[in-house]
């Protein structure tokens, strides 16, 4: 029987870790882009656009990420598209994170005092100009800490993609367990690696919140 040292396990897990990181980065970037578009629709003056995006957000926040992954994986295949697991994973995670990010950012846009909207519309600014020059710069300040905080959710969300067969950290953990029969060690190491990714982000988010909130402290 082949025996595996802890280093063998760690090395192979680290190799898989890069896919977790890559998928997280891609989902965060694309989800942020899509989320921004949804944010504009969510705060637009058109009632039907607001209602449509509200439904989009409800839909993605009200269903499990796992089901969204399955639907992306099997649904696209029905249209004759050959969908590899990584593509379905990136697609589902992008849509999922865009819904959450749009809702977080909407809260930040709502937190900008109404007078700012009124003042800028007095200056005959269009909706886009208002957003670009008046609202978003102010909303951005309060948006950064929760956005960084949500990136932790994305990293953890990538673990679920292992179920549709994308080989990232969790899937690698399962595969290595099947070879080494050391589930305790392997899953503890996997958890440790996720922790090493997420904990600095969480701490950073908390310190940003403290920094930006300093003005509101007494």
């Amino acid at each position: 029987m082949i025996s595996f040292s802890v280093w063998d396990i760690v090395r192979n897990l680290l190799l898989a870790l890069r896919w977790t990181v890559l998928l997280s980065l891609a989902s965060f970037a694309l989800g942020g882009l899509l989320g921004l578009i949804i944010l504009f629709m969510r705060t637009s003056k058109q009632a039907w656009l607001r209602r449509l995006t509200k439904m989009y957000i409800e839909l993605f926040q009200g269903t499990p990420l796992l089901m969204q992954l399955f639907l992306a994986f099997f649904g696209l295949a029905l249209f004759g598209l050959e969908v590899p697991a990584w593509l379905a994973a990136a697609l589902a995670l992008t849509c999922w994170s865009s819904a959450y990010l749009a809702e977080i950012w909407r809260g930040c846009v709502d937190a900008v005092p109404r007078g700012q909207w009124e003042a800028s519309s007095c200056l005959a600014m269009s909706y886009m100009q208002q957003m670009r020059h008046v609202i978003l710069p102010q909303a951005l300040r309060i948006a950064i800490p929760p956005t960084v905080g949500f990136s932790v959710q994305i990293v953890k969300g990538t673990a679920v993609t292992s179920i549709i067969g994308f080989v990232e950290l969790s899937k690698a953990g399962t595969m290595i367990t099947n070879a080494t029969f050391q589930p305790f060690t392997v899953y503890a190491l996997v958890a440790l690696m996720y922790f090493a990714l997420c904990w600095p982000l969480s701490k950073y988010s908390q310190s940003l919140e403290r920094k930006y909130n300093a003005a509101n402290r007494h």
Binding site: L66, F74, P183, Y194
Partner: protein
């Protein structure tokens, strides 16, 4: 070649589907109540508890909040038997949900406790209440009232997260969808149906938690008036 949808196909196995829904409800009912209880205890320990307990609780909270639920579940179900702790899949799923929700709700409830005015506690002390009585009667009710919406969302998130429990063969809703598509190869239809059921469950759970909140704390405006 074109694909013909058959949205009635997932109903071929009604018993499996109904059992799936019931097990999902059972998971969140037990996991939700126990998880919030752990959260209240954790919040107490971190704010009022003995000094030696505080770093332990915050380590627990940080550890759970920064690792995926799936890995926590696998660690409990596959990892613990490695050191001689054997538990069934249902127990493992409930345990993982309680531990997970406990960590999140601890942090949420702690924020509520921090928002309770200092004068309230002092008023309690001047009435010769013990620290435990003050926590139970003066601090906890307004703290829970304040964070109830956030706590409700977290319970819904944990309910949706329970879909991954299908991976350790807990026969909940996602498992039912897997089972059905394995039988009739109608993968898209059965996942679509189960997704719709999850959506209904999420909406229902949110309503239920709002009702419980109203019952426990009264309508905020009405409460202020008295």
């Amino acid at each position: 070649m074109s694909y013909h949808f058959d949205f009635l196909a997932p109903f071929d196995y009604p018993a499996v589907l109904i059992k799936g829904v019931l097990v999902t409800i059972e998971l969140i009912a037990i996991g939700g109540v126990l998880g919030v209880a752990v959260g209240i205890f954790g919040a107490w320990a971190r704010t009022q508890g003995p000094r030696w307990l505080r770093p332990l609780v915050s380590a627990y909270v940080e550890l759970i909040r920064n690792t995926p639920f799936l890995i926590q579940l696998f660690f409990i179900f596959f990892g613990l038997p490695g050191i001689g702790l054997q538990i069934g899949e249902m127990e493992a799923a409930v345990l993982a949900m309680v531990i997970n929700l406990g960590a999140y709700s601890c942090e949420i409830i702690r924020a509520g406790i921090a928002a309770v005015a200092r004068g309230q506690v002092e008023a309690g002390l001047s009435l010769a209440m013990t620290r435990m009585q003050i926590f139970r009667h003066v601090i906890l009710p307004p703290a829970l009232q304040k964070i109830w919406p956030a706590l409700s969302s977290q319970v819904v998130i944990v309910m949706l997260g329970s879909a991954v429990c299908s991976q350790i063969a807990v026969e909940e809703l996602a498992y039912a969808a897997n089972f059905i598509q394995g039988r009739n190869f109608r993968s898209f239809e059965s996942y679509l149906l189960s997704t719709a059921i999850y959506l209904l469950l999420a909406i229902g759970l949110r309503q239920l938690l709002r009702l419980i909140g109203d019952r426990l704390f009264g309508r905020p405006a009405a409460k202020e008036a008295t």
